[in-house]
């Protein structure tokens, strides 16, 4: 089995993220409206990003591979991570607010291409 390219992986991540937002909007709602606005409740046992460390680890592995293969540009992890996840999270937030004129999956191609273009070597 051949390894997917970084461009393909970015598209898959965007697709999975948006599908989850579509099918399980309560998870996104919880994250945006409860977790982020009530950080003090979670200060013990869920510091930093420990609750999503599995996801972060996989993104790190992805970035590491993609820089190693020359597909993505080497830079600070959070510069890339912020662009990637901030973009996806922002779109899901707009969807939750009812601002998007189209269904969220409509944006997968453009957004994954924009992310790839921003991160590519």
């Amino acid at each position: 089995m051949t390894e997917a390219s970084a461009q393909e992986k970015i598209r898959r991540i965007a697709e999975i993220y948006f599908t989850m937002a579509q099918e399980k909007p309560e998870m996104i709602e919880y994250f945006l409206r409860v977790y982020l606005s009530s950080r003090e409740v979670f200060s013990s046992g869920c510091e930093g990003m420990i609750c999503v460390s599995g996801f972060i680890t996989e993104i790190m592995v992805f970035f590491d591979d993609a820089v190693g293969s020359g597909e993505l540009r080497d830079q600070d992890f959070f510069s890339a991570f912020g662009l990637f996840m901030g973009y996806l999270g922002g779109m899901v937030f707009l969807k939750g607010e009812g601002v998007l004129p189209k269904e969220i999956e409509y944006y997968i191609d453009d957004i994954s291409r924009n992310i790839y273009n921003a991160l590519k070597a």
Partner: protein
């Protein structure tokens, strides 16, 4: 009578020959710092040494007149172009190495090529290894070969090997003929900064007591074989304890070009600690990084208080 006893004792001792090839003398000088140097050497008959007074002269050496049980080779190997008294060192190694029961390659140059290999990588190598690859001489010497790595070697590492030989004790070696007692662990083992490594707290500069040098400042300790932090230098310290990164001087790929900064890919170390899967490392460090340990963010000694 007394002289006769001494002569007999000397005859019983293994005959130790120290031969230099392309070298900076670093391993010779390092070994001279061993606090028990003469006690160790008293277990051998030192037949030839480049600096110490010995039984035989260099004329005897190049005339192949010296008996040899233990051959120490210091310095990188070259087939032609490094001669003593008109005799190629490679010929001396071939001759004395054949009669020796043990050959110790002392230092990374003698073992893998090291610093001097950089001058002419195609012609200069270690005696039995060229980097990680074996040389054509390996098969001739493999049964008697002991690899001692370091730039230079720690004097006590050589002391350990010589005493094991003198006592006739078995010395477990790995695939590269490194004594496992000395190189079975990494330089990271015993480092005084391990608590900072565990909680992923970076050092803010060289020479400070706080922080780990692995993440940004080039430390190769977690993937370098060696016991620098268990058998301390001058019995008191090591590079990493003093706040200088480990340069990986015991490894086949020494020297690397960037010694004071860590190679990263999007902030992730390009090389993982020895034997640690990348996903396991990233998971563990990701969790550790999520917590702020206040004590580890503070100076050990607050000079301004």
């Amino acid at each position: 009578m007394k002289k006769g006893v001494e002569k007999r004792k000397r005859a019983d001792k293994p005959k130790l020959l120290w031969l230099q090839s392309i070298t900076c003398n670093g391993n010779t000088h390092s070994f001279l710092n061993h606090p028990d140097l003469f006690s160790i050497l008293s277990r051998f008959e030192l037949v030839h040494h480049p600096i110490l007074d010995t039984t035989y002269t260099i004329e005897d050496l190049i005339a192949y007149r010296i008996p040899c049980d233990v051959l120490i080779v210091e310095g990188a190997y070259i087939q032609t172009g490094m001669a003593k008294g008109g005799v190629e060192v490679s010929s001396l190694i071939a001759h004395y190495g054949t009669s020796a029961k043990y050959i110790i390659t002392a230092g990374t140059c003698a073992t893998f090529g090291g610093i001097f290999k950089q001058k002419d990588p195609d012609r200069i190598s270690g005696l039995a290894f060229d980097g990680e690859e074996t040389t054509e001489r390996y098969e001739d010497f493999r049964d008697k070969l002991v690899s001692l790595l370091g730039c230079p070697i720690h004097p006590k590492w050589l002391g350990y090997v010589l005493m094991m030989i003198a006592d006739g004790r078995e010395m477990p070696l790995d695939a590269m003929h490194r004594p496992q007692e000395l190189y079975g662990i990494t330089v990271h083992t015993g480092c005084s900064r391990n608590e900072y490594f565990e909680w992923k707290v970076d050092a803010k500069g060289f020479g400070v007591k706080e922080g780990c040098l692995f993440y940004e400042l080039g430390c190769q300790g977690p993937y370098t074989h060696g016991s620098c932090n268990r058998i301390l230098w001058n019995d008191i310290s090591s590079k990493t304890v003093a706040g200088t990164p480990c340069f990986g001087c015991t490894e086949p790929d020494f020297p690397k070009t960037t010694l004071f900064e860590s190679e990263t890919r999007m902030g992730i170390p390009a090389r993982m600690p020895l034997g640690v899967p990348r996903r396991a490392y990233l998971t563990a460090t990701g969790v550790a990084k999520s917590f702020k340990i206040k004590r580890l963010e503070e100076r050990v000694i607050d000079y301004d208080r």
